[in-house]
């Protein structure tokens, strides 16, 4: 197991370098950060050159990249367009996005699994068809549409919730945004659970459990669900990283100043330290989440052995 983890960590390095370098190149191509700094005014050439030297911009691209990464791993993420250190920006943005992700994961996990179980166990009946149609519709509505519609209905028309989230963003204000963020994954979890349950219901070991005279509850909970939920749980695990990266739209709609919001601002203002800094962390989160999921898979399913 330990050797497997080490190998996986080593394999992550090229992926990490590749992803961040790709982003770095693109951000670099965004435009001249010095010009962006001065806005419409023409910068004084001497000052501009000084800033360039300070920002390491007078070196070739790959050197800039290595320099930048070295800085990051020393905890120096540079300065955002507001003049704040990027690190400080992260300190305020990450907790919001993490909270939003937690809400989304709970929503997609709980509701998705329940709907999936119901429809998987009633395969072919009207409940099942209903749930399937519902998941198709949910998947077809892009997040930014469902976001605005739900915000309009719950926030404006019925006034159940505040249409935009306050700066502190406590959990109760994040329920609606969390639902919006989770919707598409929710549909996916539902379908995955349904397929898995339907397949396992016919499995021989479930028949054995019935033949053993176990009560129905025990057959379902201990034998059927325990097996059926392995792929679902691992999917939700991988989805955590995706949700964080996909929160841009949701955060924009509900005005949450999380990671997605800061990234969006960073891109609009052509502030490369913000963009590359946040992306680097996102990529790491994503890769680590994938590794954890593979390890979790081995814990849940004893047939998987990582050596």
């Amino acid at each position: 197991m330990g050797r497997y983890v080490i190998r996986r960590l080593l394999q992550m390095i090229p992926v990490f370098v590749g992803s961040t370098f790709l982003i770095f190149v693109m951000v670099y191509a965004l435009g001249d950060p010095v010009a962006a700094l001065f806005g419409d005014r023409a910068p004084d050439p001497a000052t501009a050159a000084q800033i360039r030297r300070d920002l390491y911009l007078d070196h070739p691209l790959w050197q800039q990249y290595t320099h930048y990464m070295a800085q990051i791993f020393q905890g120096n993420f540079g300065t955002a367009f507001t003049g704040q250190p990027v690190l400080q920006l992260m300190g305020s943005a990450w907790p919001l996005t993490i909270r939003l992700t937690i809400v989304a994961v709970i929503v997609e996990g709980v509701i998705g699994i329940i709907l999936g179980i119901i429809s998987g166990m009633r395969r072919g009946r009207s409940v099942d068809t209903g749930v399937l149609v519902l998941t198709l519709i949910v998947v077809s509505i892009p997040t930014f549409v469902s976001g605005y519609v739900l915000q309009f209905l719950f926030g404006v028309k019925w006034g159940v919730v505040n249409p935009s989230v306050s700066a502190a963003a406590p959990f109760n204000e994040l329920i609606l945004p969390g639902v919006v963020l989770a919707l598409v994954s929710l549909a996916y979890v539902t379908r995955l659970t349904r397929t898995s349950i339907a397949e396992n219901t016919r499995a021989d070991y479930v028949r054995t459990a019935v033949a053993k005279g176990l009560p129905r509850r025990r057959v379902i909970l201990r034998h059927l669900l325990r097996n059926s939920l392995i792929p679902v749980v691992t999917f939700i695990g991988t989805d955590v990283g995706a949700l964080m990266g996909g929160a841009i739209v949701t955060e924009r709609i509900f005005n949450i100043h999380g990671v997605g919001y800061q990234l969006y601002q960073g891109i609009l203002r052509q502030n490369s330290p913000t963009v590359v800094g946040f992306v680097t962390i996102l990529v790491i989160v994503f890769l680590v989440a994938n590794l954890l999921v593979d390890l979790l898979y081995a814990v849940l399913d004893p047939r998987i052995r990582y050596a």
């Binding site: 497997y4 090229p14 992926v15 998947v139 997605g260």
Partner: protein, 325 residues
Amino acid sequence: MPEPLTPPNGRTASEAIGNAGAGGTMDFAASEAVSIGLATAPTARARSLWSDAWHDLRRNPVFIVSALLIVFLVVIAIWPQLIATGNPLACDINKSLLGPAPGHPFGFDTQGCDVYTRTVYGARASVTVGVCATAGAALLGGVLGGFAGFFGGWWDALLSRVSDIFFGIPIILGGLVFLSVVTNATVWPVVGFIVLLGWPQIARIARGAVITAKQNDYVQAARALGAGPIRMLLRHIAPNAVAPVIVVATIALGTYISLEATLSFLGVGLKPPTVSWGIDISSASTQIRNAPHMLLWPAAALSVTVLAFIMLGDAVRDALDPKLR
């Protein structure tokens, strides 16, 4: 590719489950579609697989409805004048935000443009992006993934690493960064970007399907009888590996349309004067209290379009997957 004990197609657990891809919309049906690869057996059966599938599809109301919808959308995308006589760019600011009027069933937007005409014309951008991006991604992903699965070795390892890199980039974020550089207002940068980030998903499916097909006894037999690699790939493997790729591509088409709209909504996808549902929804979002009709029609058109393609993909998958019969 990590070597540990892995689920069937030699993928690691997390890869097997969701295609991990960052944009939640992109990976909807990928893993479910993988199983079709296992279902496609010998060439003789492949033929009957297709005719069986067609037999099933013709009787499937979901397929009929979605196919008709798609035909309609394509026709509208090519000849919007058929049902909308107005000009989507001819606007009268005096009519800003007005509700439905005779000849203007959906009302007007902020600039006083006719929402109905714009909604009809919006199909062109969406269908163009969807079809072109899917064709590109399927071709690129199918060929690269197919070769990786067939030849294995360093080619396969390289492809896996490269697609891992693309999977590591959250898709909407990637779109923001990549496309904010572009000033070209046509659909092509968006198509290019979607192909760039979409092909690894299809490559992965194609790779798995080819590996599965390669292990079939009749393919081994053909090899034992001295069939050359090109002949094996074209005659024996490709026909069997194509089914899952088609299914994933169909479903991906719907999600690509959704992705284009999202990017346009964020201001980095298509840009005016191109008429796009995403742009219209974005401008409608600020007026949602005063003029909900502005949001409703393009949003409905977009959702129905995406739904049609996802339903089509779903129906095709059900027809091609004998396990569900």
